[in-house]
């Protein structure tokens, strides 16, 4: 029996190995490309590992393009979007998790339905409105348009976290005469913190990654990171070493952030979906 289990494990290792290679290879290849000198990229015989490794591509990226500027810009936009989404959504989530009111289930499923709608649907009307309000090129346009997907998602996820918090503490708070605002701030918020951080980080990551709205609503001097990165292809035609360095630099911050909240985030997401 034990031998059979071990054999099973060994057999599973082979497909696992291939799946992991499939997942990791693009990252590895991009990283290796980013530390190669240009001459090594465009040869008929490709070296997997760089013969000479260099950081000059990163230097070019940060000092000769507007990459660093757009990175700062992206940090701002993603942070503001997450803050607004968290405040607004946690209030709504509290109402959904703790109160019964008419139309609650309809509202919750409606919100989930809205999350399914394609971004392209919002693109043209938002552009028309932003154009009228002279908001094209301002960070507000991006923050507002990102709310189209961050708010429904955060409400849904935070409601699922909120339901996991025992209600007894709030009840004893109520008996002691705490107002709803006090309950939210002193009792619910600390308990919800892991969930809030996970959701907030996910919103940050999604806003950081967003490209379709960003390319439409920014102008050349306030581009976000993904727009800047995509434009490298045109501006530095065929300089895949620099483009790869940009890809690595755009990805590293969010991957690190994700690793910290990964456990809580997955727990919240799966709790929501397993229950159906």
């Amino acid at each position: 029996m034990k031998r059979k289990k071990q054999l099973q494990k060994a057999l599973m290792a082979i497909p696992l190995f291939f799946l992991i290679c499939f997942v990791l290879f693009p990252y590895l290849w991009t990283f290796l490309t980013s530390i190669k000198p240009t001459e090594e990229l465009y040869t008929t015989t490709i070296n997997i590992l760089p013969r000479v490794s260099t950081l000059s591509n990163y230097a070019t990226l940060f000092f000769q393009t507007d990459f660093l500027n757009s990175m700062v810009h992206s940090i701002w936009i993603a942070s503001i979007t997450s803050c607004i989404s968290m405040v607004v959504s946690s209030m709504a989530a509290y109402a959904f998790a703790r109160y019964d009111f008419r139309g609650k289930h309809l509202a919750l499923s409606g919100i989930l339905l809205l999350y399914m709608f394609p971004s392209v649907l919002y693109l043209t009307p938002l552009f028309v409105v932003f154009n009228k309000l002279k908001l094209i090129g301002s960070p507000a346009a991006l923050v507002i348009s990102y709310c189209t997907f961050t708010i429904p998602f955060s409400i849904w996820l935070l409601t699922s976290y909120m339901k996991g918090i025992p209600i007894e503490l709030e009840e004893s708070g109520k008996i002691d005469g705490a107002s709803v605002a006090q309950l939210l701030y002193f009792i619910v918020a600390p308990l919800l913190k892991p969930g809030l951080i996970a959701t907030g980080t996910y919103v940050f990551i999604n806003s950081w990654n967003e490209y379709l709205f960003a390319v439409m609503f920014t102008t050349s001097d306030n581009r976000t990171l993904p727009v800047s990165l995509a434009s490298l292809v045109g501006e530095y035609d065929l300089r895949w070493d620099i483009i790869s360095a940009g890809a690595v630099a755009a990805m590293v911050p969010v991957v690190i952030m994700f690793m910290f909240v990964q456990k809580n985030l997955v727990a919240g997401l799966t709790a929501g979906s397993v229950k159906g």
Binding site: L19, A95, P118, Y122, L123, P125, T148, N209, L229, V255
Partner: protein, 302 residues
């Protein structure tokens, strides 16, 4: 007695307006940035509305909805969309299920592997597209290099430059992007299957395959159904990867409905037709969701 009644009454009153106050900001935002734009998009779809020909904008009724069926790119996109969604989600599911089954067996380093495999899920779409464009590069790409070294092909193939391969190559990219998420969802469902079910099956002499068919699969079915639906919608809506890798080309060989809606609006600045296609896409998805939920939720009470 009296006091109890009073607090009861007060609580009931606050139960009405407190949730309203709590919901108000979210409601305002949802109406302002989601519901209103959707209505506006419907309005735009009934207009001749091009930013390049702004002066002549006018109401034209259902003309956009009719004209689009004469558009070659749109017709081509319908078949491509079906391929794009069906092949991608089917393979994401199969590979995701496989990965989840493996990760469900305890072994050292499982947690690390689980975290690492989730990386594509949070990688920016632009980065995903660029990484794979470079891998598929016809002259200097690593894929061609490997295949030539292995003797499978003798000459570099322009993977994204040929109408025969472009869509399928991007499907591989999309599978890569969505596979981990699928695996993690299924894994979570696998981990809550009560182990006594398996023990009972073992006592009655069930083999691994039978255990999989009669216990595992029915237990994880609700998760599979939900995740498949979410993924189908997600893949259908995805524009980034296709837009940045080939922009729907060569020709219309990798054009999808969502992509053509985006290109119409963003590149051609034809907001009328762009909205029309986006609305068609949304209607297709709503129709699909209705049928899908009807078929899968049969006899199941929520």
């Amino acid at each position: 007695m009296d006091r109890g009644k009073q607090t009861n009454k007060r609580r009931r009153k606050s139960d009405v307006y407190v949730p309203l106050i709590l919901l108000a900001p979210a409601l305002l935002l949802v109406v302002g940035v989601i519901i209103y734009p959707i209505c506006h998009a419907v309005g735009l779809s009934f207009q001749y509305y091009k930013l390049t020909d702004f002066a002549n904008r006018q109401f034209i009724g259902f003309q956009n909805y009719i004209d689009i069926w004469k558009n070659e790119a749109f017709i081509a996109s319908l078949g491509n969309t079906v391929k794009w969604v069906v092949i991608t989600v089917a393979l994401q599911f199969l590979l995701g299920l496989g990965l989840a089954m493996i990760l469900n067996i305890p072994f050292r380093g499982r947690g690390v592997i689980r975290s690492i495999t989730l990386m594509p899920w949070v990688t920016p779409g632009v980065v995903i597209a660029l990484m794979w464009v470079w891998i598929y590069n016809g002259n200097f790409g690593i894929l061609n290099h490997c295949l030539i070294s292995l003797g499978i092909i003798h000459q570099g193939v322009p993977w994204l430059g040929s109408g025969k391969t472009a869509l399928y190559c991007q499907i591989v990219t999309m599978i890569w992007q969505g596979l981990p998420f699928f695996a993690i969802m299924i894994l979570a469902a696998l981990q809550i299957i009560p182990s006594d079910l398996y023990e009972a099956a073992e006592i009655s002499g069930a083999g691994s395959w039978q255990k999989f068919i009669y216990i595992t699969l029915p237990q994880i079915m609700p998760t599979i159904v939900t995740t498949c639906m979410l993924r189908i919608i997600w893949v259908f809506n995805n524009v980034e990867v296709l837009y940045l890798m080939t922009g729907g080309g060569p020709g219309h060989s990798s054009m999808t409905v969502s992509l053509i809606a985006y290109i119409r609006a963003q590149k051609s600045l034809d907001f009328g037709q762009g909205s029309t296609i986006a609305i068609y896409g949304t209607l297709f998805m709503i129709l699909f969701m209705a049928v899908y939920l009807k078929l899968t939720r049969k006899g199941e009470f929520e």
